[in-house]
């Protein structure tokens, strides 16, 4: 007898149990299913009296039909492998969240990591930590992909031969007594900046054992100038913390402080907090920017001066002189008196400077001048002096005490020691000096010729490399040890503001790697730690109150040490020492760049940083927020300079830097780089900007052949900009090299064509006309309710989802793009596919240039000096969605809670919805992107991009990449359409959680603002807000109620659920360019209103638009 199993009846009281999520969410379909017990077709057979004969008849017919059916057609086939042993704490399908932090150049970023079944899959900011507040940047978002990078280092290598862990441990064990014997003479470490107190503790321990060892921190993009200047001006072990929330007027001198990844999220958030406008009477800060190339900061500027980076010292000198004269500040004057005024300086509009200075002085104590960290010491010193003169110290600029650390050696000192043969053992922990060390890092002792790092490294008898990839540096090392990812590592770190955060592993090392702390500990004679012991010991030293175990648990749970307080010091600007140092480093002879002798500016990349993320496909494919370039870097130049060179986008240019030094044969030493040109409106003339971090030879398949290596031009004396100063550099020449290079740019058209898609106004205009957004693109002429012929799907769920994007606070940083990619299993498609216009991002950040000057793009005329705006664009979830009506198979439909839902299983891929989408936000899987890695494969004599290989070839996507996938989101196959879903998986998760909480009670609503989408969660400036628009009390509803709210393409009557808040800029009406600010919506009907603008005095009448391409520059101030 077969036993009939009955489920126990639901208990009337106490806990509710459920068998499936369907049951829990209690849909009508589920009720029907329950009622019928068997799915519809089976019930037709009459379950009560199924005779054997009728059963066989039905089954036989089914079998026959199954044979007839399309059984041979392809369908994705997947296998589920259950745990053979259940893991503790793991509830299948339930996410777990752990706090950790990502070590970064400027300080760690506090994070919370989502793990499922022991796999970290998604990274968010730590909402408990004030420096993160739940937000992240692109690098943190993308770092989870690095963990699963199939090309990361997986083996111990000794003399370029496979070795193993035991051999390496033996080597270290034998090394220790040798080192101890001679007090560590000949031992050197080259490490990255991680700001880990534990590492510092072990370093001190090592120093005790091996007193003569060398410790070098090498970070190609980390400039010591700011750190050094702070020590000179304010004292040792101090860090300047700008307080943007107190600043009414900010001047950024070549400083990209709004680039979240460059600096820290606090600066961005504080700055944006003063920019957020809720109603017309709110005040805003004002941002002046002087920079050579467009940065995210420049895009946010109210006034932007494009100006060569190498002329910033001269500009700062002129600025400081003006401020010193106006404020009569003795400190600033005493610094300036030591500096001989520059003889020649790049022209700028004098009124621009005068009015800006007036503005800064008028807001003394509430103004802030910041300089880019890569600007030289003298600029930093002058800027500190200016801030002191403006009484900003202690107000907008705080000085914070950091734990004392000894002065480290630089790579230059190490290089000369290697050259002298004094280094026997060099430990390179992280970093990649063979790739990114400055050229001519030292002079050969005998020949007095400059030598490069690779040559030097070969001179060191024993180089031990701990590396994440087997790269150029590993190839020249005796030992290569695989390094762990920070998500596999126990460590700790300080945040940029000095808070102590924990780094705990989310997963055991995938490939048996060692962490930096492991290696240092073993070398210090400690056992290789199995767990958190090393970090615990450091943590103990911070003297947590109460029980240690509880404090430690809290440290790990919260992710940071709450008990460690941050100490600020009374800032006192030491003008004597500052003046003295400034005097010695001041170079007043740096000539302004010219057409024939331009400057080359080397900056970090928005995508690959200094090159460390080159093998990260998400970052490679992320369009640069400014140029929209993917998979490459380029020589970025102004339209005018490109015209002078006779190049267009993608044409190769040859940059030749000739040193004053000569090689043994008496020839001048030259460095050369052939690189593709990319024209950027708003770039300074006679200036070329190159992102570093590309052009690597030895890296994984993703990073290979990507871009051009800017490090080839870089020397230690000119690390950030190269200009012919006739001291070290004889000449800088740029010429057309002939030939061109395919650049994959995701947005070709830069103009908004006056379409009212992006709306902005000045604060003054907004106050005059609070309803200005309604008067763009004819929106006010539309009837409130357009008649409709047919009945639409009912939107009758109690909660209705919607989104709003505040264009005023969006910096364009693209964290949302990567967050969306990580959350929604969006594949990368490779450079060729991006160039074909097939990138799969569900969010794209539209970047437009707006200019009040006349232009005609078809004739190749770019505006010279436009403003830049960013507009995140994702599925707008139209209530009358044009995509839904045209789909012949009902694959895209509307849900009752207002989502435009995409049913992948039903989609046959007619692409009609894509065509009919006015926002072009739908993404079609032209190939099986999830099944095939990017790159080419050899087929016979041909090298074919893998996606073009037919189904008979092998699909080679690595298993580790699959581990990253979010199990709650379908991985789409080729031939189906996809698009932003408002993170429907998060909505459903929240719904189910609400049902769980509700139990038997009827209140199953999701609590107000209790969850959000991946993009909104990642956004450092809270520009994206998602929530229930049916509830007037949610954040999204309140923001949508603001009068700057508008919807795109209102005239189509598609009723988008995503709306935008118009941007407000706050120009100084007295500035000469005030009339050219906030012009993105200056077209069409709006034009009349613009002509009616009354701004400033008679000299500020550039509206209606100036006819000349740019205001005639006047001679710069010459004190």
């Amino acid at each position: 007898m077969k036993r009939v199993i009955h489920h126990p009846p639901a208990s009337a009281t106490g806990k509710q149990y459920w068998r499936s999520l369907n049951q829990l969410s209690d849909t009508p379909e589920f009720r029907e299913w329950l009622a019928r017990e068997f799915p519809a077709a089976a019930a037709e057979a009459g379950p009560d009296d199924v005779s054997r004969r009728s059963f066989l008849k039905v089954m036989g017919a089914s079998m026959a039909l199954a044979g007839f059916g399309l059984s041979s057609c392809r369908k994705p086939e997947m296998h589920l492998v259950p745990f053979t042993k259940s893991a503790e704490w793991v509830i299948p399908g339930k996410f777990l969240y752990y706090a950790t932090a990502m070590p970064r150049r400027e300080g760690a970023m506090p994070l919370v990591v989502t793990t499922v079944d022991g796999r970290p899959i998604k990274i968010e900011g730590n909402p408990l930590h004030p420096e993160s507040n739940g937000a992240t940047d692109v690098f943190a978002q993308a770092s989870v992909l690095d963990l699963y990078d199939p090309s990361r280092s997986q083996r111990f290598v000794h003399n370029n031969k496979l070795s193993d862990r035991a051999a390496f441990e033996k080597y270290i064990a034998e090394l220790r007594p040798k080192l101890a014997a001679n007090n560590g003479a000949g031992l050197a470490f080259m490490v990255e900046a991680t700001h880990s107190p534990t590492r510092e503790r072990i370093r001190a321990e090592l120093q005790k054992q091996f007193p003569r060892m060398r410790w070098v921190v090498h970070e190609p993009l980390l400039s010591e100038a700011q750190h050094f200047s702070t020590q000179i001006s304010f004292g040792d072990s101090l860090k300047l913390i700008p307080q943007f929330e107190n600043a009414d007027v900010v001047l950024a001198l070549d400083s990209d402080f709004l680039n979240c990844s460059e600096s820290n999220l606090t600066a961005v958030r504080d700055f944006i907090a003063r920019r957020r406008v809720r109603e017309a009477k709110d005040n805003m800060n004002r941002l002046y920017v002087v920079e050579n190339h467009f940065t995210l900061t420049g895009a946010m500027a109210d006034h932007r001066l494009r100006y060569p980076a190498s002329q910033i010292p001269a500009f700062t000198h002129a600025l400081a002189t003006k401020i010193a004269a106006a404020t009569r500040d003795p400190n600033l004057s005493s610094v300036l008196i030591t500096l001989k005024p520059p003889t020649k300086i790049e022209k700028y509009d004098r009124r621009w400077m005068d009015e800006m200075v007036q503005d800064l002085i008028a807001k003394s104590g509430a103004s802030l001048v910041v300089a880019g960290s890569h600007q030289p010491v003298v600029v930093q010193l002058m800027v500190y002096g200016i801030n002191a003169a403006l009484k900003n110290l202690g107000q907008t600029l705080l000085v914070r005490e950091l734990p004392k650390t000894p002065r480290y050696n630089s790579i230059l000192q190490l290089a000369s020691e290697i050259d002298a043969g004094r280094i026997q053992q060099l430990f390179i922990l992280g970093g990649d000096p063979v790739y990114n060390a400055p050229r001519a890092v030292t002079l050969d002792r005998k020949t007095k010729q400059p030598v490069n790092w690779p040559g030097l490294q070969k001179k060191v008898p024993e180089v031990i490399r701990l590396g994440y990839h087997e790269d150029e540096t590993s190839a020249l090392s005796r030992w290569h040890v695989p390094m762990t990812h920070y998500l596999e590592t126990w460590s700790d770190a300080l945040t940029p503001q000095g808070s102590h955060v924990a780094i705990q592993p989310m997963i055991l090392p995938l490939f048996d790697g060692w962490s930096e702390l492991d290696l240092l500990a073993v070398l210090a004679g400690l056992p290789k730690p199995k767990g958190p012991e090393l970090v615990q010991e450091t943590f103990r030293a911070t003297a947590p109150t109460g029980d240690f175990e509880t404090a430690w648990t809290n440290f790990l749970r919260d992710g940071f040490a709450k008990h460690v307080s941050l100490k600020n010091r009374e800032p006192k600007f030491n003008s004597n020492s500052a003046g003295g140092v400034a005097h010695t480093v001041w170079n007043n002879e740096l000539p302004p760049p010219t057409k024939d002798s331009p400057e080359i500016v080397l900056v970090g990349s928005y995508s690959t940083d200094d090159g460390r993320y080159i093998n990260n496909g998400w970052l490679q494919e992320m369009p640069s927020p400014v140029t929209k370039l993917t998979w490459d870097n380029a020589a970025i130049m102004s339209p005018r300079y490109a015209r002078y060179l006779g190049v267009k986008n993608g044409d190769l240019v040859r940059i030749t830097v000739t040193d004053t030094a000569k090689d043994p044969r008496g020839k001048l030493i030259q460095r050369e780089l052939v690189i593709a040109a990319l024209i950027e409106p708003g770039h300074a003339d006679n200036s070329i900007t190159i992102s570093l971090g590309y052009g690597r030879k030895h890296t994984g398949p993703v990073g290979e052949e990507a871009g051009f290596n800017g490090y080839l031009l870089r020397t230690s004396s000119n690390p950030h900009y190269i200009v012919a100063d006739h001291k070290a550099i004889q000449s800088v020449q740029v010429s057309k090299a002939g030939g061109s290079y395919a650049l994959a740019v995701t947005q070709d058209h830069w103009s908004i064509e006056g379409r009212g898609l992006f709306r902005e106004a000045t604060l003054e205009e907004y106050r005059k006309d609070e309803e200005f957004v309604k008067k763009v693109a004819g929106d006010e002429e539309l009837p409130k309710q357009l008649p409709t012929l047919y009945s639409h799907p009912k939107l009758d769920a109690p909660q209705q989802w919607g989104m709003v994007v505040d264009l005023n606070t969006c910096t364009g940083c693209s964290a949302c793009v990567i967050a969306c990619q990580a959350e929604n299993n969006i594949p990368i498609v490779g450079k060729l596919q991006v160039a074909h216009g097939r990138s799969m991002h569900w969010i794209r950040i539209d970047r437009y240039y707006a200019s009040a000057e006349p232009f005609n793009e078809d004739y190749g005329q770019y505006p010279e000096n436009p403003e830049m705006v960013h507009e995140p664009m994702m599925c707008q979830h139209c209530e009358n969605a044009p995509c839904e009506t045209v789909c012949p198979v009902n694959a895209t439909v509307h849900s009752e809670d207002g989502l435009n839902v995409m049913v992948y299983n039903r989609c046959i891929g007619t692409r009609y919805c894509l065509n009919n989408c006015p926002f072009k936000v739908r993404r079609f899987n032209y190939f099986d992107y999830n099944q095939r890695p990017v790159g080419k494969e050899k087929v016979g004599f041909f090298s074919v991009y893998q996606e073009y290989l037919g189904p008979l070839t092998e699909k080679t996507t690595a298993d580790t990449i699959k581990m990253q996938k979010n199990p709650n989101v379908t991985v789409r196959m080729r031939g189906v359409m996809e698009k932003c879903t408002y993170c429907v998986q998060r909505i459903e998760e929240a719904k189910i959680a609400a049902h769980v909480r509700a139990g038997a009670s009827p209140n199953t609503l999701i609590p107000r603002d209790s969850f959000t989408t991946a993009c909104a969660q990642a956004c450092p400036t809270e520009a994206i807000v998602f929530g229930d628009v049916a509830d007037p009390e949610t954040r999204v509803s309140k923001i949508k109620a603001q009068n700057r709210n508008y919807r795109l393409l209102e005239y189509l009557n598609v009723k988008t659920r995503t709306s935008y808040l118009a941007r407000i800029r706050n120009p100084n009406p007295k500035m000469p360019d005030a009339g050219r600010i906030a012009v993105a919506s200056l077209e069409h009907e709006h034009e009349k209103r613009v002509q009616a603008r009354e701004l400033g005095g008679p000299e500020t009448q550039p509206r209606p638009r100036p006819q000349t391409p740019a205001p005639a520059p006047t001679e710069g101030t010459r004190p």
Binding site: E753, G837, R838, R844, P888, I908, Y948, L1052
Partner: protein, 487 residues
């Protein structure tokens, strides 16, 4: 008119000089006083004779092209739609261009057969058979594209309203679904209509052939036709009914195809003028294709007496007329774009003539479609075979360009300038299209080899002899015993 004495014998003969012919007399539809016997022998003879060498050569070429086109389709289906040049703003390009192009060509046949039949245009009899065959082959070529252009071809049956366990029906609001119904209905009715017309001719071939296999096959398809009065009565009624059924389909199918665009929101697609504009364009392109095929066929098979300059003249006039409709529609599109005051529409049409695809418009639409048919205002041009052929080729190409401009021109630069793009065809795109040309010509070659390319029975009806009152005194040609000639 019965017994009117003015019908002088020379006039009936027809080939007398026009000066002799009375002013109101019609030029006969078949020249050189060809009789029933000649018609049957000439047309059936083309099918019955040995296969000529040129046929094998042509078929090898077109068949090879068709096969390569099918390989391209196989590659596309197996690997992904990405092997075509499509991208994110441009989701349709050559695929749907080719679809609309072929569907358009498929218009002429049924128009000639059905509408001209209902309008008693007797000249249609010389061309309707091959025009209808061309229609079928064009629709076959057209049907390939919507079938294979989808991302998951093996799921394309979702388009069919099949009651499945999913309980999901197709979306009846989608014009793409209307297309499925419109095209399949059109194809079905066109096949029936063509086949019905073929029955008497198949019987003729059955009766004439000596091969047993052929006799059997023709016999099966001739459905036992005996040429009896009863047969003819049913036949005529069926033909009339099918003509009546086809007539609205001629107008509907391309109107429905135009809805793919007209019901969308894309600037330059969202246009009320599209249905009549598309129908006119289809007839325009279809007639050009009929002439493209008929002019060589008439020369090869020496059918100049049946497909006379008069036929070509009339077709040229239809091309001129429909070409003028099309030109009017083009002009009206521009006018409405300006008159609407809608900046997106205005831009779309500005972009059409000055954008990246400018030459498609200047060459394809302006010169090929609007200007070249204007030659047909001149009688000399309508009667010069080379001019006619040149204009037809212009129109064939021009209509392809027109569809490309409408589809890609509308998509590649729509609302948001950030997502503007370009379409560049790949070799697979190009060879898929050329492949369909191969399929089309191969099918046509098979058709002219195995079936009478001109409706013998219908041509005979328009011969003077078919008139019961007809007498040709000096060249009396008695009907053979048994009425063989009539069949």
């Amino acid at each position: 008119m019965d017994g009117a004495p003015t019908t002088a014998p020379e006039v009936i003969a027809g080939e007398a000089s026009p000066s002799v012919r009375p002013p109101l007399a019609r030029v006969p539809l078949v020249l050189n006083r060809r009789n029933f016997d000649w018609v049957t022998n000439r047309i059936a003879g083309a099918v019955e004779g040995p296969t000529p060498r040129w046929w094998w050569v042509s078929f090898a070429i077109t068949g090879g092209i068709a096969a390569f086109g099918l390989i391209c389709l196989g590659y596309q289906i197996s690997t992904g739609v990405g092997v075509w040049g499509l991208n994110h703003p441009v989701g349709w390009a050559w695929d749907i261009t080719n679809f609309v192009f072929w569907i358009g060509i498929g218009h002429a046949g049924t128009l000639i057969s059905a509408i001209l039949y209902l309008l008693r245009q007797k000249w249609r009899t010389s061309i309707n058979r091959s025009a209808e065959a061309m229609t079928l082959f064009a629709v076959i070529c057209a049907a390939i594209f919507p079938g294979v252009h989808v991302g998951r071809v093996w799921m394309a049956w979702f388009l069919a309203p099949v009651p499945t366990q999913y309980g999901i029906w197709p979306n009846f609001r989608s014009p793409l679904l209307w297309d499925v119904f419109a095209v399949s209905t059109y194809f079905t009715v066109s096949v029936l209509f063509w086949y019905t017309g073929l029955v008497p001719d198949l019987a003729t071939l059955r009766d004439r052939t000596t091969s047993k296999v052929k006799k059997f096959l023709y016999g099966v398809f001739a459905l036992g036709w005996r040429g009896s009065n009863r047969n003819w009565r049913h036949y005529e009624m069926a033909y009339l009914l099918l003509a009546g059924l086809s007539t609205p389909l001629v107008l509907s199918v391309h109107s429905v195809v135009s809805f793919d665009f007209a019901t969308s929101v894309i600037p330059s697609w969202h246009t009320a003028i599209f249905p009549p504009y598309f129908v006119a364009g289809a007839i325009f392109g279809g007639f050009a294709m009929v002439l493209t095929l008929m002019i060589p066929a008439r020369a090869i098979f020496k059918l100049q007496d049946i497909i006379t300059p008069q036929h070509i003249d009339k077709m040229a006039k239809i091309i001129l007329l429909t070409g003028s409709f099309v030109a009017y529609a083009y002009a009206m599109e521009f006018f409405i774009a300006w008159y609407s005051g809608n900046q997106y529409e205005k831009f779309a049409f500005y972009n059409r003539i000055f954008g990246p695809y400018w030459w498609y418009w200047w060459v394809g639409m302006l010169f090929f479609n609007m200007l070249s048919p204007q030659l047909f205002w001149f009688r000399w041009c309508r009667h010069n075979i080379f001019v006619v052929y040149f204009v037809c080729m212009c129109v064939n190409a021009g209509m392809w360009f027109e569809r490309f401009i409408i589809i890609v021109g509308g998509l590649h630069r729509d609302f948001l300038p950030s997502s503007w793009g370009l379409f560049i065809p790949t070799w697979v795109d190009i060879w898929t299209f050329i492949g369909t040309l191969g399929i089309f010509t191969s099918l046509f070659l098979i058709f002219i080899r195995f079936l009478p390319m001109i409706a013998m029975s219908e041509v005979k009806i328009v011969l003077p002899e078919a008139d019961p009152h007809h007498v040709t005194p000096e060249q009396h040609h008695p009907v053979a015993a048994g009425g063989m000639e009539r069949t």
